[in-house]
Symmetry: C2
Subunit: 415 residues, 2 copies
């Protein structure tokens, strides 16, 4: 079993060094990391081939193989992502506000690294370089624990990054990799409170649930999105169809894709046939409540479970609602607090929806697909937080920081 305490100590010691690096130094190293990843394409592909071979032997599903598979193009994309992180503004050191209190103290709220981050993820090797570069840019040390399917790929990627660190006089412990992919080690990592400041799981609903239930280290939940599009009685048909099709079909496997359509009863009969026709072009399976079922030409009855399911596929649950109020209630009951959209021309309906729906991102007349760091203008992200503590929505560099109060006095004592 990997000695996590040793990893934790090494990471903590490195945070100190990382905190003293200025932005230029960090950006230069990120550029070098990107160059090294590209230069080492062959060794990375060799390592990846070992993972793919093992996965094939274990008869892993093709979708999983696709997540795991690296190509020269994908490696170039990984390097490009690292370079993009280098171009982003560095939040560390920024003083958000500074004021003088009644005692004459000058109090500043300054951005500092979180410290040591743990990332637990599944089979996508690009998470390794994405997480490492975001953490490095924000002065955090990171301990990466990837899925065992991607073991050799991750190990090689981390080796390349650590070589760059060492060659440039930075401790390789800034980016560490848990070599032991046993469940026991993962569980120990979740309880490494003396060394980890935060733990971020990246992956499917099961992984996230396990981490939330097991970890004693503070966790940021990311990911699951049971997102809704609500077509109001005052929605324009054309806009409603175009947004719904985009939200459902543009990339159904991602967390900000729509899973349920709610439609106001006054427009259901007129709009649903047009919607069915548009969705059929993508072979979307419709799972409808009894009201919608009577209107659709081809649909199956929705079960109670469908309202809570993140299909991540060409499947859409459809429900006819009596009112805006019912739509809001349905969403707040079944959603995962990710992304929700109303399509309506009505000022009051949109305002009500935006205020009352509880989610990281609430949209008026827009596809839910925009919830991500790039679309919001934050650049690369480490995930979409669906919890309310610390960070909500796309988590970019800023969300990987904490603050400290820096106070300048001239001899003040408390009265």
């Amino acid at each position: 079993m990997t000695d996590l305490i040793e990893l934790g100590k090494q990471a903590k010691a490195t945070v100190y060094q990382l905190g003293l690096m200025d932005t230029l130094q960090k950006n230069e190293l990120l550029q070098k990391m990107a160059d090294a990843i590209e230069a080492q394409t062959e060794t990375i592909l060799t390592a990846n081939a070992k993972d793919l071979a093992a996965a094939s032997q274990n008869e892993v599903a093709e979708t999983m193989l696709d997540r795991l598979r690296l190509t020269a193009d994908r490696i170039r994309e990984m390097a490009a992502s690292i370079r993009q992180v280098a171009t982003l503004p560095d939040p560390i050191g920024e003083v958000e506000k500074m004021w003088r209190n009644e005692d004459g103290l000058l109090i500043g709220k300054q951005r500092v690294p979180l410290g040591v981050l743990g990332i637990i993820y599944e089979s996508r090797p690009n998470v390794t370089t994405d997480a490492a570069s975001l953490c490095f840019k924000t002065g955090n040390a990171v301990i990466l624990r990837g899925g065992k399917e991607a073991f050799y790929s991750n190990q090689q990627l981390v080796a390349v990054l650590q070589t760059v660190l060492k060659e440039n006089g930075v401790s390789p412990y800034a980016i560490q990799f848990v070599e032991d992919s046993s469940r026991a080690t993962a569980q120990a990592l979740m309880k490494l409170n003396d060394y980890l400041d935060v733990l971020i799981p990246r992956g499917g609903a099961n992984l996230i649930k396990t981490v939330v239930e097991t970890a004693t280290v503070p966790v940021i939940e990311t990911g699951t999105g049971n997102c809704h599009v609500y077509i109001d009685k005052d929605a324009q048909l054309e806009m409603a169809v175009s947004i719904l099709v985009n939200a459902k079909c543009q990339r159904p496997s991602v967390c900000n894709a729509a899973e349920t359509l709610l439609i106001h009863k006054e427009v259901a009969a007129a709009y649903l046939p047009v919607i069915e026709k548009a969705l059929k072009e993508y072979n979307v399976e419709l799972r409808a409540d009894s009201h919608a079922l009577a209107i659709f030409q081809e649909a199956i009855p929705a079960t109670e479970a469908d309202w809570s399911t993140e299909f991540l596929d060409y499947i859409l649950a459809v429900k006819v609602v009596d009112s805006l109020e019912d739509a809001i209630e349905h969403i707040n009951h079944y959603n995962t607090k990710h992304s929700e959209s109303i399509i309506s021309d009505n000022y009051f309906a949109t305002q009500q929806f935006l205020q009352r729906v509880d989610a990281a991102a609430v949209y008026a007349n827009t596809s839910t697909r925009f919830t991500d760091g790039f679309a919001f203008g934050f650049g690369a992200e480490i995930g979409i937080s669906t919890q309310k503590l610390h960070a909500r929505g796309p988590m970019g560099l800023m969300e990987l920081t904490s603050t400290k109060y820096v106070i300048y006095g001239d001899g003040q004592s408390r009265q």
Copy 2:
């Protein structure tokens, strides 16, 4: 056993109503709560007498009895605190920033309530009204679980607050009290993930440790403060003594009081005798390393444990350090990330200290006693966060909120 799921459901249903109240309504109710607490002084004192009688029978220590004891004056103070919360600005609804992205979406980051908060605390009944008023002002529902020693006091206080809510058409479930003070119920509360958004423990180190280790609900750690004053070689003697005495003696039982003095070797021989004389006026016990021990007239040797101990008493650990670097290393090794101060005339020494010391509040030439919501100008606080996630330092109204992204589009789909 209290049906926590029922409490959770009631709280969740109420969040919706609280979210629709405007600031004026909330402030009016807070004023009425304060009035009611004062008007019910007799019934509250009667309930408190029952708690005190039970505590006396159980031979509880006098310090604990003092925490538990209410008087007419203390009840007036509780009411005054509620009124103070009413006067604070309401963060809910505030849009921190709003921008247009590349797709023409107008994206705003808006302050929203966290949702349902759990507060687990010990024997001070004033936590009940403080926490309830702060949560109410920020649109959060709260589930309070106080110590069993204060059971009747807390029950009566919550009854008074709930009566005000009911009389004004607000659900009493906005402020709920766990009547069952068993350990099993407390542990169940810590795992009430489906209903609680955050759990905040308020109390001693043991309580906080238990909550952190047991809870699966996101926790904000508050409280423990092993705070240091470092007297640099370039410190002015008079300022150093006055700040140290204030940090140690003005109120030694609180978390922002100093517990260890670090002093540069170049000034130790000259300054420590003056410091000893000043501290002896408060009968401070000195626990010194060998170097300081040789200088003090009356001190005992410090043990390794003393460097990590939050004495909360007239005891001070003292260590002579060779350099600023050693002082920073000692602090980062032993501190609880609360409040740390350097006394120095030297520009570079103070800048190094402020940058490198890892704590919620880092001070130059100031007493550590200033780390609280009132001193920072935030008003009442729910505690001092010593973790890096979500909030760090004094947690006022703003720290009891989350954000959501509110996005106004005009038909955009993702490319």
